[in-house]
């Protein structure tokens, strides 16, 4: 596994979303997402000493005949990962101080993740939301699923306000099977508005990952000039001199981020921050790694077949 570190500015200059995804995924190590869990798969991994109670079907008779010892064959379990990606399409995602905005970046990231899973023959679904869930592609593996996912991503964000809590309620309703739920959003709304629903989702034993997309300007406020600033979602205008307002903003934003992190940690949800100037393959790798360490997938498959 190696980090290619593709410059997102260069990557997002490619117009075709599928091509962007392929460029990232092809650079990654093949089979990255092979399940770390052992099970009854066709691929042998090791032997272990038979102990009473083991299923005799897995007893290696040939070894018993040669060595007269009872060994149980252990196999890698091929996980059939079910993943649902929730993508925030609200107006706040259309902000960008770079030549591309957060929505472009997040869309490319979702496409890359989808293509990655699709190649692994995992089941991928997509749900787009702003103040509600307005577009939904159920998770399944079939021919053309990735194309459908791309067409959903091709839609420009139209919603005004963000209401993550309401969107999560709908996900809870329609996504009953335990899945890997990846929430891609800027998480700029008040955590109290979605904390409860997120806890509910986590309680349903879904493997929830939070990927927070932030523009560098949102993190530093090194942006703009003294003018009337208009909120992208509410349209509210206030006069802002960024030099004067920077300190207060950073304080407020820091407090907000801290509260988001606290909520995520409290719920045991992996929370990754993805600045839009960060190479996509790095983000993808970190997400996978953090997911492996957290052992979330264990909860998803839930069985040790060894």
């Amino acid at each position: 596994m190696k980090a290619t570190g593709i410059d997102p500015k260069t990557l997002l200059a490619i117009r075709d979303l599928e091509l962007r995804a392929r460029v990232v995924v092809e650079g990654l190590w093949s089979g990255l997402h092979r399940s770390p869990l052992e099970g009854f798969s066709v691929e042998f991994t090791e032997y272990r000493q038979y102990s009473p109670g083991d299923d005799l079907r897995y007893l290696d008779w040939r070894v018993l005949a040669r060595t007269d010892r009872e060994y149980i064959r252990k196999f890698k379990d091929e996980t059939n990962l079910r993943c649902l990606i929730l993508l925030d399409t609200s107006r706040s995602m259309s902000f960008g101080s770079l030549p591309y905005n957060k929505s472009d970046y997040a869309g490319t990231l979702v496409a890359t993740l989808g293509y990655f899973l699709y190649r692994q023959r995992d089941v991928v679904g997509l749900a787009l939301f702003d103040n509600r869930l307005h577009d939904y592609l159920p998770p399944r593996w079939r021919k053309g699923q990735f194309r459908s996912l791309l067409s959903k991503l091709g839609k420009k964000p139209t919603g005004n306000a963000t209401h993550l809590g309401r969107a999560l309620e709908e996900v809870i309703r329609i996504c009953r099977k335990r899945s890997l739920v990846v929430i891609v959003s800027d998480f700029l709304s008040d955590p109290e508005s979605w904390q409860k629903q997120l806890a509910h989702l986590a309680a349903m034993r879904h493997d929830v990952r939070a990927l927070q997309i932030l523009d560098p300007a949102e993190r530093t406020l090194d942006f703009g000039r003294a003018a009337h600033w208009e909120d992208l979602e509410t349209g509210q205008r206030i006069y802002i001199d960024p030099d004067a307002a920077r300190k207060g903003y950073l304080d407020e934003f820091g407090r907000h981020q801290q509260s988001v992190r606290d909520v995520m940690n409290g719920l045991g949800i992996v929370h990754d921050v993805a600045p839009t100037d960060k190479p996509l393959d790095f983000v993808l790798l970190e997400m996978i790694r953090s997911g492996a360490h957290a052992g979330a997938l264990t909860r998803v498959n839930g069985r040790d077949r060894g």
Binding site: L98, D186, H228, W229, D231, Y239, A244, G248
Partner: protein, 682 residues
């Protein structure tokens, strides 16, 4: 710099666009969209001058582009001293006739005429031929076409202005017919010199007052293609009252008065008349108020307390034009003369010639005549007439001969052969005969109508003497090689009236007596006028009038040397009187006062109608008004300007500079946009 389409300069007002844009955009451009304003706290706005413009340099460039485009579309060009474009087609020959008559002295007319003339001259191109004439009672050349062509184009107008500056209206009548004839002659000369086909026009600048004389234009042959344009400069205030002299009149209380005709024009007028002594300026009568209905004439008698012995000044007050408000009156002059009758006839015998002589001369005013007996012949003086009937006495004969030799005049009725020795003695010629053969009757055949005694009958209307029969008229036979001259023949070719010089004087010999028995002569209508004419000859000619009009002074000289001295001036005038006033006319030993006045018709300011011209066949061009001429000039000027503009093509430079500035503006705008445009969402 001039512009062919100056209205496009209004496009420069579009500069307001960028100005407003740069003011308004300041507010819109500074709007920044952000995703996390909930973490921001409103800042305190910085103080800025509302009048400050954003990016003034960029604004300057944009304004400059608009201004350059506006100037470019306005099609600028630089004026050059190009020759005035020659007219397409024919050459233009123009004669301008300027009225300098007395009526041009009406308020404002002369100034308007000068202004109009300058306007006319300005519109003539370099190719045009032009001549400027002035007309009043005579025609004078102010600017000949040779002088016009000889001078360079820029100098022509200056020359004309200098000439006009030195001119002023005179006091004479308006003889426009004379002026038109002179203008036509001038046009002919121009055509001969140029040898080209030309558009001929006569422009008359005048007030066209009602007294303008046009009668000479009747039946005139106008050249083909010649047009007459009338430029009227009068009629602003047509109301006026003028005076015409009619003569002296005895009043009912045996006084004397001046009989005047008042000529009104325009609206109704109320005027006052008053006479003043020209020397002392003291009133010589009461002020008279008179009312004249508009455009009417009326006769008025201004009575004098006593017969004026000196010049009189009559003033008219109450009309708007002062130029004719003074009228000069010379004192009444009477000529006295006598007819010395030499004969034996009684004055009251109708069978005698003297009876008819006295009847025919009774009541004459000029001269005041008295018939005297020949016995007083010694009292005779120059201007008297000796009338001889029969044979004078020997003492009378010598006196008569002396009188005639000194320039006197005599008339002898020849009826008897016994008179012939006396005639031979007087004339110094022998061979005079009288044929007394009776005849049925004789008629006057050949008459010398060129002679001063008969020239008043020269007109065919009055030349009929065929109804005067002579029954008892002997035939006069002249001596051989006689210096005598037959003035009238009978129809049998014998002499009826003979003129013989005697010294410096003259003796007329009339065949027969002046009685109804001898002939119908004394009863004919020709008799008294002929006798009047005879007396005038005796007095040296007709009475010189003492009331004349400006321009008539030469009529009084009769070939003699005459000097004029203005009243109150010690020196004689260098020429005949050219302005109204009282003058002392000296002719030989005699002198008398003469009042010179403006022609009365010049006071009639009611303008002539166009129909008056049309009736005379004048080829008027009424539609060719000054305004239309100006519009033509505008077209020519526009074409010239368009030609200049198309040659210079200055607009291309404006557009080129505008394009360059536009490129610079784009660079500046991009630079500024890059520097500040981070706030614009992608």
């Amino acid at each position: 710099m001039s512009f062919l389409a100056p209205l496009f300069l209004l496009g420069a007002a579009l500069i307001a666009g960028p100005l407003i844009f740069h003011l308004i955009r300041r507010a819109t451009r500074h709007r920044v969209r952000f995703s996390a304003t909930q973490f921001l706290r409103a800042s305190r706005p910085r103080l800025q001058k509302r009048s400050s413009l954003q990016h003034p340099f960029l604004l300057f460039l944009r304004c400059l582009i608009i201004a350059l485009l506006a100037f470019g579309f306005a099609r600028p060009f630089f004026k050059q001293e190009l020759p005035v474009p020659a007219r397409e087609g024919k050459l233009k020959q123009t004669v301008v006739l300027l009225d300098e008559s007395a009526s041009m002295r009406q308020t404002g007319a002369w100034e308007r005429a000068q202004t109009r003339l300058i306007e006319l001259l300005k519109r003539h191109s370099s190719d045009d031929q032009l001549s400027l004439l002035a007309v009043s009672s005579t025609v004078s050349h102010l600017l000949s076409h040779e002088l016009w062509e000889k001078n360079p184009v820029p100098q022509r107008l200056i020359l004309a202005q200098n000439i006009l500056r030195q001119r002023a209206p005179g006091w004479g009548p308006t003889y426009l017919d004379l002026g038109m004839e002179a203008a036509l002659v001038e046009l002919d000369q121009m055509s001969e010199i140029s040898g080209r086909t030309a558009e001929k026009s006569i422009i008359v600048v005048s007030d066209f007052g009602g007294g303008t004389r046009l009668s000479g234009l009747a039946g005139h042959d106008w050249p083909v293609g010649c047009v007459v344009r009338l430029e009227s400069v009068g009629g602003m205030e047509p109301g006026n009252v003028g005076v015409q002299w009619l003569g002296w009149l005895k009043t009912v209380n045996s006084g004397i008065g001046a009989r005047l005709q008042l000529i009104g024009s325009g609206d109704d007028q109320s005027v006052t008349l008053q006479a003043f002594d020209a020397e002392s300026d003291l009133p010589m009568g009461e002020e008279q108020s008179l009312y004249l209905p508009g455009g009417s004439k009326r006769v008025a008698l201004y009575p004098f307390a006593e017969t004026p012995s000196g010049p009189v000044k009559l003033t008219i007050r109450g009309d708007p034009h002062p130029f004719d408000d003074q009228f000069w009156i010379a004192p009444k002059r009477v000529r006295h003369a006598a007819i010395h009758y030499i004969g034996s006839a009684a004055a009251d015998d109708p069978g005698q010639s003297r009876y008819y002589l006295e009847r025919a001369t009774a009541g004459w005013e000029d001269p005041l005549l008295k018939v005297k007996d020949g016995s007083e012949l010694l009292d005779s003086k120059p201007g008297d007439l000796i009338f001889i009937e029969g044979n004078p006495l020997p003492g009378q004969r010598s006196a008569l001969k002396a009188f005639l030799s000194e320039g006197g005049m005599g008339l002898c009725l020849l009826a008897d052969s016994s008179q012939l020795p006396f005639i031979q003695d007087l004339t110094g010629e022998t061979g005079w005969k009288l044929n007394l053969t009776p005849r049925n009757y004789a008629l006057l055949g050949e008459i010398d109508f060129q002679h001063k005694l008969f020239n008043i009958f020269a007109d065919p209307r009055y030349s009929n003497f065929s109804n005067i029969r002579f029954w008892d008229a002997p035939s006069i036979q002249l001596p051989q090689n006689s210096r005598a001259r037959v003035l009238a023949h009978f129809d049998d070719e014998t002499a009826a009236l003979v003129e013989v010089s005697v010294g410096d004087g003259r003796l007329y010999l009339w065949s027969g007596e002046w009685t109804p028995q001898a002939s119908q002569w004394v009863l004919s209508s020709k008799f008294v006028p002929w006798l009047q004419r005879l007396m005038e000859q005796a007095l040296g000619g007709p009475k010189r009038p003492s009331m004349i009009q400006v321009g008539e002074a030469n009529r009084l000289s009769r070939g003699n040397t005459v000097t004029w001295q203005r009243f109150g001036s010690g020196a004689p005038e260098p020429s005949d009187p050219q302005r109204p006033g009282i003058y002392l006319m000296k002719a030989g030993d005699s002198s008398h006062w003469v009042a010179v006045n403006m022609p009365p018709q010049e006071s009639f300011l009611e303008p002539l109608s166009q129909a008056d011209w049309e009736n005379l066949g004048a080829p008027l061009n009424p539609r060719e008004s000054l305004a239309s001429e100006q519009s033509k000039e505008e077209v020519v000027r526009f074409r010239t300007a368009a030609e200049l503009e198309s040659q210079q093509k200055v607009w291309r430079w404006f557009l080129l500079i505008a394009a360059m500035i536009l490129a610079a503006e784009s660079l500046v705008a991009i630079t500024i946009s890059k520097r500040e445009g981070t706030g614009i969402p992608a």
